[in-house]
Structures are given as C-alpha cells and as structure tokens.
C-alpha cells in the first residue's frame, strides 16, 4: 500500500512540525484519493502516535508542542473518521480523566485524552479541580475501566484530595479489580516511585505511554 505509506510520512512530518493545518490537509487529500476512513485511523493516525513515542524514547527531543498537536489532530481526525467506518468498531473501554482537586493544570490530561481517543477508547474528561468522589462516581456511572488522575503540583499529587483519595474510595467500595487507577504529571516524572506511594496501579511519563499502560490495565 504505497499510498498509505506516503500519507503516513506526510502526516507525521506535519505533526512533527506542529503544523495542524498541513496535517489535516494531508488527510483530506488522502480521502479524495480514496483512502478508507479505517485506514486513515489505523494505518496513519495510530502509527504516527507510535512513531512519536519511538522518537521520544530514542532521541528525547519531542516537545510538549509536538505532543499537543499530535494529540489534537489525532482526536480531530478520529472523530471525523469513525462515523464513516463501514463497520462499527468495538471500543477498547472507557477512561475517566481529570486533574486532581486543588490543581488547575489541564494540558497533560488533554494530550492524553486525544491520544486515547485515536486509539478507540471512550474518554470522559471531567476537567480540572476534580474531587475523588466525582472521579469514582463518574467511573461507576459510565462503567469505566480506568481512572486517570493528573497532577502538576506536588501537593495535589501527594494529597488526600488527589489520587490517594481516589484509591481510598476504590478500596472502600471494593472496586479495585474493576477500576484501575493511573496517574501522570510533573511530580511523578521527578520521582518515579511516587505513583506507588499514592496507591496508583501505574503511571506514564507521556501521553503516548499512557495509552499503552491504560490498554494493559484494561485487559
């Protein structure tokens, strides 16, 4: 499928250059040439995300701007393509995302949400400053398999109103097997064991790794 290969290369270059308009133009032109919506998502968007992970881990030079555009465009393209699929896809599960209570930083969570959507997860983004009760209530209401709690600040990462509070509620309600807890954000990057001390089942250093960890926890 050389045409798909070319589309992937052009799309990836555009995302890497943080050029959203060019990336969307590549997709538009591919559609005009008859590339199927399923192939756009599974042969272009998802491999582009995978490649960004690879570039990140081998060269360490991917920036937050690149992550942001990759996530944003991935979500936009996926949202546009999925209704055009010939067969309905089997979803990979529902993920509840939000930033911990007392924390108003929403960027990381937003990037994770975009990458998850492109990978066929249903994402419910609760926004910023979310209480542990709301995380757990929404997870139960939507039968989510994973709660993702983002924190940019040490006190919101370690405090009882953040992931630790969610863990407590999950344990109190015997939901620990049904709903897994993942965390992310700067404090976890500075201290790679912090996730264990707040009772999370896993953490991710970036949005693309988050997809892999959430996928593993869902299984």
């Amino acid at each position: 499928m050389p045409i798909i290969k070319n589309v992937l290369e052009d799309y990836y270059d555009a995302v890497f250059d943080t050029n959203r308009d060019k990336a969307l133009d590549v997709i538009q032109k591919a559609r005009e040439k008859g590339v199927l919506p399923e192939d756009i998502v599974f042969e272009v968007v998802v491999p582009a995300i995978e490649r960004m992970l690879s570039d990140l881990t081998t060269s360490h030079d991917a920036t937050l701007a690149q992550h942001f555009i990759c996530s944003k465009v991935s979500a936009e393209v996926t949202d546009a393509m999925v209704p055009l699929f010939r067969q309905e896809q089997i979803g990979r599960g529902t993920v509840i995302l939000g930033t911990a209570r007392g924390d108003f930083h929403g960027l990381g969570k937003k990037i994770v949400g975009g990458c998850l959507k492109a990978n066929m997860f249903v994402v419910e983004d609760l926004g910023i400053n979310v209480t542990p009760e709301k995380f757990v209530d929404e997870a139960q209401r939507l039968s989510a398999g994973v709660i993702g709690v983002s924190s940019m600040m040490v006190h919101s990462a370690k405090g009882d109103d953040g992931a630790r509070g969610v863990r407590k509620l999950l344990d109190q309600n015997n939901l620990q097997e049904k709903i897994k807890l993942v965390v992310g954000g700067a404090p976890y990057r500075f201290d790679s064991h912090l996730y264990e001390s707040v009772g999370a089942d896993g953490w991710a250093d970036n949005a693309i790794e988050a997809v892999k960890i959430i996928d593993t926890l869902m299984k």
């Binding site: 943080t18 937050l64 942001f68 007392g102 108003f104 929403g106 040490v154 006190h155 405090g159 500075f190």
Partner: protein
C-alpha cells in the same frame, strides 16, 4: 571575618572567586508555617510575607531573600476574581480572565495596575525586607515572561492552541500586552529596591519548543521584555523546563548576567555553552527531597557542586521547594551546599 551574602554575590558578579558558592533557596509558602498561620492569611498582608521570609532566611542562612508572593497574584492584578488557596502548596488561579478574542482585545495594561491591592501588598513586603535585610543579602523578586504569561490568563491548552494553530494577529496582540505588563512590573520592582528579578519563561524552554520555534516565536518577545529596560539584574529562570539548548541564543540576544537551569539540564554542558559570559545557577531536583535520605541529599549536592563550582561563576539553587519538605531535609541540603561549595 566571614563575608555576607551581598559581598559573596558582588564578588561573583565581578568575576572573582568568593569564599564559597552562593546558595539561592526558593522557600515561599513555608513562611506561613514559620508564622503559624494559613497560607491564605499569610499572603493577605505584605507584612506577613516579609516577616515569614526574614524568619526563613535567618533560620537557614541562605544567600538571598525573596520579595515575591505567588504567580496567581499577577492575574489578580489583571482582574482575576478567584484564587484557590490550599493548606500545603502554592495558590492557584481559580478564574481565567481570557475566554475569548474579545477578552484579549479588552485587556488593558496601564500603570493603574500598580495601584491594585495585590501589588501594593507586594511592595510592602519588598520595602520591609529591603530595610531589614537589604544590607546583608540580595533581595530577589520575580516576573513571568510575556511568552509564558498567557497560560495563567487563559489556560495552557488554550494558549498552545492559539500559539500553534490560532490567529497570528490575536496572538501578537496578547503577547504585546503581556510584554507591556512584564516590562512595567519589572521596572516597578527595581524601583521598589529589589536587586535581582527572576525572569521565568517555562513555555519558551526545550520542554515545550524546538530551538527553531523558540527563535521564531519566543525570542522576539524575550528581546522586547528584557532589552526595553536592559539586562541589568535579570536572572533568566527556566521556570520548570529544559534550558540548555536555548542558553546561547538567550545570552547572545539579551546579554543577561545569570542563567538558572533546570535540574534535568546538564550542568557541565551549560557551563561550556555559557563560556564565562554569564553566571550559572543550577537547581537541585527538589521534589525528591521530600523522601531522600540525608546521604542521598549529601550525594546530590556534592554532584552538583562538583559539576559546576570549578572556576567560579556558579550558584547553587532550588526550584520551588515543595511545602512537604521537612525542616531537617532543608537544613541537610543547605549544610551540604555550604560544605561542598567552599573554595
């Protein structure tokens, strides 16, 4: 006779080797704990912050004193109606003032902002600490670079959206207003008597942007922010992102006298890039200080000193020390910095 912190910094700035590496310690909300009050009460009056900062400096003996409050205070000056205070961390912006292009157009930057209560309280703090401690140690304050100010006015995701995919005209309008604010506040801080201003620019670091993006998008605004008043007394602070790839361009374009790098930046590499053109401040990774043992802290301080102190021109620093770091850990870190920083 031992020299004081002012003399230590002066020696450094004149290219001399002082008695030891100066130590900058960024303790902010910890001042509330010293006074036995909540963080919200602490920040309600400039006098409290001054007392708290003086107590902290005298208790630990580091080489600076902070004449600054918290980042969200800039938003309050610009009309933000809500700041969220917590018991164990810095205050957060609870009301983003820019929600539309119209809001950006309506945003007004003028000298009346310097008459708002938040800024007047800050001036009180500076006046007291300058009077009480100014003859002994440099008074530092802080501004946010124009390029990194929009996230606290509109949210980081909205800012990246505007920056990378939005209208260039609106983006430049916003950055011009943020730059005007930055310049005005910097000037007012120096007029109030601070010795150094930390210019914090997290969005213009290698964690967010490629070097090419930095040069085309951020650099023109950095030049405007700094060069309008001149680089005297400006410390270019990483703000939480990797800085090494940008250092050469920053020094070449602004002539700033000090660059304050991120804990994940390579200290030896930074020193090589700077090549004696500016002072280098290196940060310890202060989040793990919460749980590190005294031996861990000692080892890490030694590593930083070994990498940076040779030949002078070097400052040991921290990022924003989390509230959860115990007194003993702070003391251990600072004692190690004095011990390993000796020349």
């Amino acid at each position: 006779m031992p020299i004081n912190a002012n003399q230590r910094f002066n020696a450094l700035m004149q290219g001399e080797i002082p008695d030891r590496v100066p130590v900058v310690c960024n303790l902010f909300e910890q001042g509330a704990r010293e006074l036995g009050m909540s963080i919200e009460t602490y920040y309600s009056r400039g006098e409290y912050v001054a007392q708290g900062q003086i107590k902290l400096q005298e208790k630990y003996g580091y080489d600076n004193i902070w004449g600054t409050h918290y980042t969200a205070q800039d938003c309050e000056m610009l009309g933000s109606k809500k700041t969220i205070f917590v018991e164990d961390g810095p205050p957060n912006v609870g009301h983003l003032i820019l929600r539309s292009e119209k809001d950006i157009e309506r945003l007004t930057i003028d000298e009346s902002l310097l008459e708002t209560k938040p800024f007047l309280e800050l001036l009180k703090t500076i006046e007291i600490i300058k009077r009480e401690k100014g003859d002994q140690c440099p008074v530092l304050s802080a501004v946010i670079a124009s390029f990194s100010m929009p996230p606290i006015l509109m949210g980081m995701d909205k800012w990246l959206d505007l920056l990378l995919t939005g209208s260039v005209k609106i983006r430049n309008l916003l950055l011009k207003k943020c730059s005007d604010f930055c310049i005005m506040k910097t000037k007012a801080l120096f007029n109030a008597g601070v010795d150094m201003v930390s210019y914090s620019n997290p969005v213009a670091t290698a964690s967010f942007l490629s070097l090419e993006q930095f040069k085309t998008m951020a650099l023109p605004w950095i030049n405007r922010d700094i060069n309008t008043l001149g680089p005297q007394g400006i410390v270019y602070f990483n703000g939480g992102g990797l800085l090494n790839p940008m250092i050469d361009t920053i020094i070449e374009n602004t002539g700033v006298g000090a660059v304050y790098i991120h804990p994940m930046d390579d200290i030896r590499q930074a020193k090589e890039i700077i090549g004696g053109r500016a002072l280098l401040a290196a940060s310890i990774n202060d989040i793990p200080l919460i749980k590190w043992s005294n031996d861990d802290i000692d080892r890490e301080v030694k590593r930083i000193m070994d990498a940076g102190k040779e030949g002078g021109g070097f400052i040991f620093g921290t990022l924003s020390m989390p509230f959860g770091i115990s007194h003993d850990k702070i003391k251990t870190m600072l004692e190690a910095a004095v011990r390993y920083g000796q020349y």
